[in-house]
C-alpha cells in the first residue's frame, strides 16, 4: 500500500492543463495565439501567469494594458483562491484543457481584489496560514517559528512551479511542524476548513469544528457536512445531487477529517472543499 506521503506528493505536484485565450474585445496589433500552460493546483493565478502576460503583451500596445485578470465562462476568477479550488469549483466537469479568458481592461472591481505585486499574495498566504494555526494550535506553532521559517513556507509555495522535489521537501520540512498536535488530544483544536458553494452568494462557509467529538469519536467529512451543510449529503434513497470535491477528487464521507486536514490541505493550511452540483447525466 502506498504511503501517506505519496498523497502529499500527488497533491503538491497537481497540475491543471490550461489554455489561455485573450478576450475577444481586447485590441491587438495582430492575432493573439492562445497560450498553453500547466497550472500548479497549489499556487495562485497571479503568481504563475507572468509568462501568460508576456505572451499577450507581444501583440498589444502598451497603452491598452491595465491590470490583467481572468475569467472562466463569464465568472471572474479570484486570484486569492488556490488555482485547484477555482478549477474544482467552476470547471470540474468541463473538458480539458481548462479554457481561461485573459483580460487587460475593465477590471471587475466588485468581484476581484487587486494584485499589484507578489508581496500581496505573500501577505494573503501568510495570513491564511496564521489563521489556520490559530484554529489548530491557538497560534502556538506559527508564533514559535522564526521569520525565516515563514519565508521558507512562502518560498516553498512560490517555487511550486519548478516541479522540484527539493521545494516540496523545503516546504514540508517546515509545514510538518504546523501539522503536529498533542497525541492525547487526537487532533487539532479546530479543523481549518472552508466550504465553497457555486450556487450561493456567500463566498464560503467557515465554522469552528473539532476533529474529535466530545465523546471521543473521530469526526469524518460526513460529520462536518452534516453539521455545516447537510444538503450536500445524499439521502439514502436519492441519487447524488452534489459532489464534494477536494483537489479534484471526491473523498468518501467516512474519511476522518483530521487526516484530510493533514494531507489534503492547501499550503495555506486550509482544507478547501468545493460543493458543486453533480452532473445531471
Amino acid at each position: 500500500m502506498a504511503d501517506d506521503k505519496d498523497v502529499l506528493r500527488d497533491v503538491w505536484f497537481g497540475r491543471i492543463p490550461t489554455c489561455f485565450t485573450l478576450y475577444q474585445d481586447e485590441i491587438t496589433e495582430r492575432e493573439a495565439e492562445p497560450f498553453y500552460l500547466l497550472l500548479p493546483r497549489m499556487s495562485y493565478l497571479t503568481l504563475v501567469t507572468d509568462k501568460v502576460k508576456k505572451h499577450f503583451l507581444k501583440v498589444m500596445k502598451a497603452e491598452d494594458i491595465e491590470e490583467m485578470w481572468f475569467d472562466f465562462e463569464g465568472t471572474s476568477l479570484k486570484w486569492h483562491y488556490p488555482i485547484g479550488l477555482l478549477f474544482d469549483l467552476h470547471a470540474s466537469n468541463t473538458a480539458l484543457p481548462w479554457s481561461i479568458t485573459v483580460h487587460f481592461k475593465n477590471f471587475p472591481e466588485r468581484d476581484l481584489l487587486h494584485c499589484p505585486s507578489n508581496s500581496v499574495i505573500e501577505a494573503h498566504f501568510m495570513s491564511s496560514i496564521k489563521e489556520a494555526d490559530a484554529l489548530k494550535h491557538k497560534s502556538q506553532v506559527i508564533n514559535d517559528m522564526q521569520k525565516k521559517d515563514h519565508k521558507q513556507l512562502w518560498m516553498g509555495l512560490q517555487n511550486v512551479v519548478l516541479c522540484s522535489s527539493d521545494k516540496f521537501d523545503q516546504f514540508w520540512a517546515m509545514n510538518r511542524k504546523l501539522m503536529e498536535y498533542p497525541t492525547e488530544e487526537g487532533g487539532f483544536r479546530y479543523i481549518p476548513f472552508r466550504i465553497y458553494l457555486t450556487m450561493s452568494d456567500r463566498p464560503f462557509i467557515q465554522k469552528l469544528f473539532r476533529p474529535i467529538s466530545p465523546d471521543g469519536h473521530t469526526h469524518t467529512l460526513g460529520d462536518l457536512l452534516k453539521e455545516v451543510y447537510p444538503v450536500a449529503i445524499p439521502n439514502d434513497d436519492e441519487s447524488k445531487h452534489y459532489q464534494v470535491v477536494i483537489h479534484g477528487i471526491e473523498p468518501l464521507l467516512e474519511t476522518p477529517l483530521q487526516w484530510l486536514s493533514e494531507h489534503l490541505s492547501h499550503p495555506d493550511n486550509f482544507l478547501h472543499i468545493s460543493v458543486i452540483p453533480a452532473p445531471s447525466d
Partner: protein
C-alpha cells in the same frame, strides 16, 4: 543524536535509566543494593547506595579505558661485561622513570584498584620518536642524562630501553564501590549527597570531572584526580564551609551551589582550571525568607532551587562573571527536587504525583523554559510483573527476594500518593524526600507541636536518623523493603505509576531541537506520520489513492507538452563588483529558464549593473556553471559562481542573496539533467566552510591521454556540514564533523520525512588573540607601540578582532558559549594562557624569558550550526579520520571493512558494515602504543596508518577472516619528515608530510606489501586521495612566498597508468577553499584508447590542443589565487 541516558531512582531505591532511544525505563539490573541518589554525566554515573558508600558505574565503550605504564631499563658499558646492569654508583637506577630519578622496577607497578586488570605482560617499545629501533629497543647515549640516538656509536657508553604495559579498567556497566578514604584514613562520616560535573573547566587531562559529596554531618568533600585514565579518582579532600551543608550541585562548568542546613545557599567562587575545587564560598539568601531552600540544581548558566514549601525558583542573572546571579523568580509547579542536565535542560520530580517532569521550552534565549511536562514512560518491570504472578524466576533479582517473604501477606495498601492525606513514612532509602520533609517538619514543629508527623525527637532526626534508619533497615534484612516491593508489584497494573525519588539528567543529551527524539516526550507531541498508521487499510484511504492517481492521468499525463516555455525570475542581489575598489553593489538579476521539447531545461543568468552611468550586464549560461559555492561571510549569505573559464581565471562571480542560491542550484542541476542521489561512483569534496559537494565522474575523467579537464567538473551541493567525507564504490559514505562527530550517509533524495533528511549540528571555535607588550614601568600592558598590531586581533595581527565585534563565521552559526582562554595552542602557555615572544610576529613559547617583550593569548568561543542533511550520527565515539575499503565497481564485499581513528587517537575497526547497514554495529579497538591520526584501507585489505608522532605503520594480515589484522609494522618516515596523512589505492600508497610534501611508496609487491622507500612527488600538498583505479587527486596547499593562509585547490594527477603509477603532471580544478576530496568511490575505468604509434613517454608529453598545457608547478595557480582571493574564504 547519540543515545544517552536519563537516570532516576524510585522511592524504593531502585535505579532506572531511560535511553533517549528507548521506550521504557530500564531497571539497572546490576544494582544489588538500593540507591539513594545518582548523579550522571555522559560517560558514567555516580551513586550513593543505602550503605552510604559511593559507587561508580562507568558505561562500557567500544574503546576501553587503558592506561600505559612505562619504565626504563638502563645499562652501562664496561670493557668486561659489555653493556650490563652494572651501573656506576653515581648512576641512575637500573630500572627508572624517564628522568632517572624515580626507582621503578617492573614489579613495583600495581593495579590501582580491583577494578583494573592487566592487558598483557611487559614488552619493549621498539619505536623511538617515530623511527623503528633495532631489535631489543635500545637507544644509546654518551652518558646519563643525555640525548639518546637509536644507533650504537663508538662512544656510546650507556643505553636504555622503554618497557610498556597496559592496564585496563574492567568494572564497566557495573556499580564499583569507591572506598571512602581521605588523606588520613577512612572518612569519619557516611555520604548523603553527591554531584558530578565540571567537565567543561579544563580539557586537560582528558575527561576530567569534579565530584562533590556531602556527608551526613554536613561536610563537603571534593574528589581529586578524576579523569579519563583514572575514572575512580584518587582521594577525598575536605572543603571548608561556613555552615553545614545539606545538598550540593555542580554544573558542567564552574558553577557550584550548595544548600545550608539553615536554608541559605552558598556559591563556590574561584573555580578555575588550576583550582577546580574553588577558593571560597559566598552566601546567597533563600528565595523565600519564610521557607528556606532545601534543594539546588545548577547547570551551565542556570540555577534552580526548591524551598521547603516545594516551590520552585529560578535564579536570574547567572553568568560566568557572576555565579551568584541577581535575584529569584518564582516558578509554577511544586517539586520535591529538580535537576539540571545537559544544555541547561531541567528535570524535576513533582511533589504531587512523584512523576518525573521535563521542563519544556528551555532554550539558550529562554533558560527558564515554558512549562512542566510529565515523562510518562512505562518501566520494564511494569510489563513483566503484570504478565504473570510467577515472577520469581524470570523477574529481576528483586523479585526473587520478595517471594519468600510475602506470598501470604494480606492485600497490601497501594502506596499513598494523594498529597492531601498525611504522608506515611516512605522507606528511608529515599533520604531526599525524607530530609526535605524533616526540614519542613522541623519548622512546623518548632512553631506548633501539634503536627501529627513523626514523633522522633528533632535532634535525632537530623544527625542520625538517616543513618540509624538505614542500619535498622539493613539489620532487619530486606524484608521491609521487599514487602514494599511486592506491594508495588502486585497492583502494578497499567494505571500504577512509579514514584520517583531522584532524577539526574547530567548525561542526557536532550536539547530543544532534539527533544522529539526522546520517545517519551515525542509521544506527547506526535508527528503526523504516526497518527495515521491504524488507518492504513481503510476504504476511504484506498479511494483517495485511486482517485489521486486517476486525477494525475486525467489532468497531467496527456498535457506534458504544455511545459515548453520560458520562465523568468527577477529580483535584486548584491554583486562583488569586478573593478576596484571592490565592494558589494546592488544589482538587478534575471534568471531566464527555458525548457526544450524533450523536457530538458536550460537558462541564462543576467546581472544588470551600472558602470560610469552606463547600463551594462553580465551573464552566465546555466549549463556552463560548474559550481555554486557558498562563501564564508559573517554578515551576508554569499556565494560564488564558477564556470570552467572562471575556474581558470580564479575569478568567480560573487553574489549575495538570501534565497536565490537554492533556485540557481536547481536550475544548474536541471540543465545538466542531474537529479536524485549521488551515484556510488561520485567524487565527494568538502570546502573549508564545511559545505559538501559531489561530482558525477564521467567515464573519461580518468582517461589517458585525454581526460576530462578537471575545471569542467560539475559539482553540486549536498546538505550537511562536515570536516571530511570518505566513501567507496559500494556507496558507503561516512563523514566527520568539526566537532568530531561521526556521520553516515543515509541516501539522499525523495523525502523530508524521518527516513532521509535529518537535523545535523556542528560545533567549532572562533579564535581571537589578546596581545600585550612589556614596558619597564608597568610590565605587560595592552598599550603597544604605534607600529604594533591591534591589541585584540586575529592570528595574523592584521585584523582587529575584539570580543565584542567578533562574529560567528556566517549568519548560520550562533554562539553557544562565552569567550574562554585557550590553553591548547601549539607552543604551550603559562597558567594564564599567555605565550611569550621577543616581538610580533615570532614563534611563541609558553614561559617568559628575559628576551621576551611581547606576549599573546588565544581566546576561543564556541559556535554552533544547525542544519539538515542526509546524515545520521554514529554515536558515541568522536572520530578524527575514517576510511572505507576500496573495491571495484562489481565486487561485493560484506561485511565492508571500515577503519577509523578516534579523536583520542585510538585505531578502530568497524564491525557489521554492510550495504543495508552502512553505519555498522560496533567498534573493535585495535591496540597501538601511541595515538594515531590518519588511516587508509586500500585494495586487498592493505591498511596503512600514520601515528601522531609522524611515523607510518602497516597493519599485517588484515583479511575478511581477521578484519582487525594481527600486528603493526613500523615503516620509517622519509628523511627528516613527519608524515601527516596516508591514502592507499588499489596498489599505490601515497602520504603527505607535515611540510606539504607528497610521497609515493616504492617497491610494493604482494609478497612485501610494506614497500622499500619513499619517493618525493611534489610539494605544497595538503591532502591526497588515491582511488580504486590508483588515480591520484590532491588538495594543493599554500606555497612559498604566500604571506597568508591560502586554502586548497582540487588537483588531478595526469598520466597515471598501471606501469606509471606516479603520473606525469597536475591538472587544476576547483579552488581555493577546498579542504578535502575523496575519489575512492570512482571505479569507472575509462574506455581504452589504443595509440600504437606512440610510446608511453611520447604520450605523456602530448597535450590536448584545445587546452593550454597545465603549469609545471603549483606556483602560478596559487599566486593568481592570492590576488583574486579564495573562493570560499573572503
Amino acid at each position: 543524536m547519540s543515545v544517552s541516558l536519563l537516570w532516576a531512582v524510585d522511592v524504593y531505591g531502585r535505579v532506572y535509566s531511560l535511553s533517549t532511544g528507548g521506550q521504557q525505563w530500564e531497571q539497572c539490573q546490576d544494582a544489588v543494593l538500593e540507591f539513594k541518589r545518582v548523579t550522571a554525566v555522559q560517560q558514567c554515573c555516580w551513586g550513593i547506595a543505602c550503605d552510604h558508600h559511593i559507587y561508580l558505574n562507568v558505561h562500557s565503550s567500544d574503546v576501553p579505558i587503558r592506561y600505559q605504564e612505562e619504565t626504563y631499563e638502563n645499562q652501562r658499558w664496561n670493557p668486561k661485561d659489555n653493556f650490563s646492569d652494572h651501573l656506576l654508583p653515581s648512576d641512575r637506577w637500573h630500572w627508572s622513570d624517564i628522568t632517572g630519578l624515580e626507582h621503578q622496577p617492573l614489579d613495583s607497578f600495581l593495579l590501582p584498584s580491583t577494578n583494573w586488570e592487566w592487558e598483557g605482560d611487559w614488552y619493549i617499545d621498539e619505536n623511538f620518536g617515530g623511527e623503528p629501533t633495532e631489535k631489543g629497543g635500545w637507544t644509546y647515549a654518551l652518558d646519563f642524562p643525555a640525548t639518546y640516538i637509536k644507533d650504537k656509536k663508538w662512544n656510546s657508553c650507556v643505553r636504555r630501553r622503554r618497557w610498556i604495559r597496559y592496564r585496563r579498567y574492567k568494572a564497566t556497566d557495573t556499580w564499583a564501590k569507591i572506598p571512602s578514604e581521605g588523606h588520613s584514613g577512612p572518612l569519619p562520616d557516611p555520604f548523603n549527597d553527591i554531584s558530578c560535573g565540571g567537565w567543561e573547566i579544563s580539557e586537560e587531562p582528558r575527561g576530567r570531572l569534579s565530584l562533590w559529596a556531602v556527608s551526613l554531618q554536613g561536610k563537603v568533600w571534593f574528589r581529586e584526580g578524576i579523569h579519563h585514565h583514572s575514572p575512580e579518582g584518587e582521594g577525598w579532600e575536605e572543603v571548608s564551609l561556613p555552615g553545614e551543608v545539606v545538598q550540593i550541585s555542580c554544573g558542567p562548568g564552574d558553577l557550584v551551589w550548595a544548600v545550608l542546613w539553615e536554608g541559605q545557599l552558598i556559591v563556590r567562587e574561584g573555580i578555575t582550571r588550576d583550582c577546580p575545587q574553588g577558593l571560597c564560598w559566598v552566601v546567597v539568601d533563600s528565595p523565600n525568607p519564610e521557607a528556606g531552600a532545601i534543594h539546588v540544581a545548577v547547570g551551565d548558566n542556570v540555577v534552580w532551587a526548591v524551598t521547603k514549601d516545594n516551590k520552585v525558583w529560578f535564579r536570574r542573572g547567572i553568568n560566568s562573571h557572576n555565579p551568584c546571579g541577581s535575584g529569584w523568580i518564582g516558578m509554577v509547579g511544586e517539586m520535591v527536587m529538580v535537576n539540571v542536565g545537559l544544555n541547561d535542560q531541567v528535570w524535576g520530580i513533582s511533589c504531587v504525583d512523584r512523576a518525573v517532569y521535563f521542563r519544556q521550552g528551555v532554550t539558550s534565549s529562554e533558560l527558564s523554559g515554558k512549562a512542566w511536562k510529565a515523562v510518562n514512560v512505562p518501566r520494564d518491570g511494569d510489563i513483566r510483573s503484570h504478565s504473570s504472578a510467577s515472577i520469581s524466576k524470570g523477574g529481576p533479582q528483586r523479585a526473587v527476594l520478595e517471594v519468600g517473604t510475602c506470598p501470604s501477606s494480606p492485600p497490601p495498601e497501594p502506596p499513598p500518593i494523594d498529597p492531601d492525606v498525611p504522608k506515611p513514612r516512605i522507606p528511608k532509602v529515599t533520604s531526599d524526600s525524607f530530609i526535605s520533609e524533616m526540614l519542613s517538619d522541623r519548622q512546623v514543629k518548632q512553631e506548633a507541636a501539634t503536627t501529627a508527623s513523626p514523633s522522633i525527637p528533632e535532634e535525632e532526626v537530623w544527625s542520625n536518623v538517616d543513618l540509624e534508619e538505614t542500619q535498622t533497615h539493613l539489620a532487619v534484612g530486606l524484608s521491609s523493603v521487599a514487602t514494599y516491593t511486592l506491594c508495588q508489584g502486585e497492583p502494578y497494573g497499567a494505571d500504577e505509576h512509579p514514584l520517583w525519588a531522584w532524577v539526574s539528567g547530567g548525561g542526557c543529551g536532550v536539547n530543544f531541537w532534539t527533544l522529539l527524539s526522546l520517545p517519551a516526550l515525542a509521544s506527547s507531541v506526535q508527528s503526523m506520520s504516526l497518527s495515521i498508521s491504524p488507518a492504513q487499510t481503510a476504504a476511504w484511504r484506498k479511494q483517495i489513492f485511486e482517485q489521486l492517481s486517476e486525477r494525475s492521468k486525467r489532468e497531467m499525463d496527456h498535457f506534458k507538452h504544455y511545459e515548453q516555455s520560458v520562465w523568468v525570475k527577477k529580483g535584486a542581489m548584491q554583486w562583488w563588483r569586478d573593478w576596484k575598489p571592490h565592494k558589494w553593489v546592488d544589482v538587478r538579476f534575471a534568471l531566464e529558464q527555458f525548457s526544450g521539447p524533450e523536457g530538458n531545461q536550460d537558462g541564462i543568468l543576467f546581472l544588470y549593473y551600472n558602470f560610469n552611468e552606463e547600463k551594462k550586464y553580465l551573464h552566465a549560461f546555466i549549463n556552463e556553471v560548474t559550481i555554486l559555492v557558498p562563501v564564508l561571510n559573517d554578515s551576508k549569505h554569499t556565494f560564488a559562481i564558477y564556470t570552467a573559464e572562471r575556474t581558470k581565471q580564479r575569478w568567480p562571480i560573487r553574489l549575495a542573496a538570501a534565497t536565490e542560491l537554492a533556485l540557481l542550484s536547481v536550475s544548474c542541476c536541471d540543465s545538466r539533467g542531474i537529479q536524485g542521489p549521488p551515484s556510488k561512483q561520485a567524487i565527494w569534496s568538502v570546502t573549508c566552510k564545511g559545505d559538501i559537494f559531489v561530482c558525477e565522474p564521467s567515464p573519461s575523467l580518468e582517461a589517458c591521454p585525454y581526460p576530462t579537464p578537471c575545471d569542467q567538473m560539475f559539482w553540486r551541493q549536498v546538505g550537511g556540514h562536515l570536516r571530511l567525507v570518505e566513501c567507496n564504490s559500494l556507496g558507503v559514505v561516512w563523514g566527520v564533523g568539526y566537532d568530531h562527530t561521526a556521520w553516515v550517509y543515509t541516501g539522499y533524495g525523495g523525502g523530508f520525512f524521518q527516513d532521509n533528511i535529518f537535523t545535523q549540528t556542528d560545533v567549532k571555535c572562533v579564535y581571537i588573540y589578546e596581545n600585550q607588550r612589556w614596558n619597564p614601568v608597568t610590565g605587560y600592558t595592552n598599550r603597544g607601540l604605534p607600529t604594533d598590531r591591534y591589541m585584540w586581533s586575529d592570528a595574523t595581527g592584521l585584523q582587529e578582532c575584539t570580543k565584542a565585534n567578533a562574529k560567528p563565521p556566517s549568519p548560520h552559526w550562533t554562539w553557544v558559549a562565552d569567550w574562554t582562554i585557550d590553553y591548547g595552542i601549539s607552543g604551550g602557555t603559562d597558567r594564564e594562557g599567555w605565550q611569550y615572544a621577543a616581538d610580533f610576529p615570532r614563534s611563541y613559547h609558553g614561559h617568559k624569558t628575559l628576551k621576551d617583550f611581547v606576549r599573546r593569548r588565544r581566546w576561543a568561543r564556541k559556535c554552533k550550526l544547525t542544519t539538515t542533511g542526509p546524515w545520521q550520527e554514529v554515536p558515541p565515539i568522536p572520530l578524527s579520520d575514517v576510511t572505507i575499503v576500496l573495491c571495484g565497481a562489481q565486487s561485493s564485499v560484506e561485511p565492508i571493512p571500515l577503519w577509523a581513528i578516534s579523536n583520542k587517537g585510538d585505531v578502530l575497526c568497524r564491525l557489521g558494515v554492510t550495504l543495508l547497514t552502512p553505519a555498522g554495529t560496533s567498534w573493535l579497538h585495535v591496540g597501538t602504543d601511541q595515538p594515531f591520526k590518519s588511516i587508509s584501507i586500500g585494495g586487498a585489505n592493505q591498511v596503512w596508518a600514520i601515528a601522531r608522532d609522524g611515523s607510518a605503520f602497516y597493519r599485517g594480515s588484515v583479511s575478511s577472516e581477521s578484519p582487525a589484522g594481527d600486528c603493526w609494522y613500523h615503516i620509517p618516515c622519509p628523511e627528516r619528515q613527519k608524515l601527516q596523512q596516508v591514502s592507499v589505492g588499489r596498489t599505490s600508497v601515497y602520504t603527505v608530510d607535515q611540510n606539504g610534501n607528497l610521497w609515493f611508496r616504492q617497491g610494493l609487491t604482494p609478497s612485501y606489501p610494506q614497500g622499500s622507500s619513499w619517493e618525493h612527488i611534489c610539494n605544497n600538498v595538503r591532502k591526497v586521495s588515491v582511488g580504486p583505479l590508483d588515480q591520484v587527486w590532491i588538495i594543493a596547499d599554500k606555497v612559498q612566498g604566500s604571506h597568508s593562509l591560502s586554502c586548497g585547490t582540487v588537483c588531478h594527477r595526469l598520466g597515471v597508468q598501471p606501469m606509471e603509477p606516479k603520473g606525469q603532471s597536475w591538472d587544476y580544478g576547483i579552488g581555493g577553499g577546498w579542504d578535502h576530496i575523496t575519489v575512492r568511490g570512482n571505479s569507472i575505468e575509462a574506455p581504452r584508447v589504443r595509440m600504437p604509434s606512440l610510446t608511453p613517454s611520447l604520450t605523456s608529453s602530448l597535450t590536448d590542443p584545445l587546452r593550454p598545457p597545465p603549469p609545471r608547478s603549483l606556483l602560478p595557480v596559487m599566486i593568481t589565487e592570492m590576488e583574486n582571493g579564495n573562493a570560499v574564504r573572503c
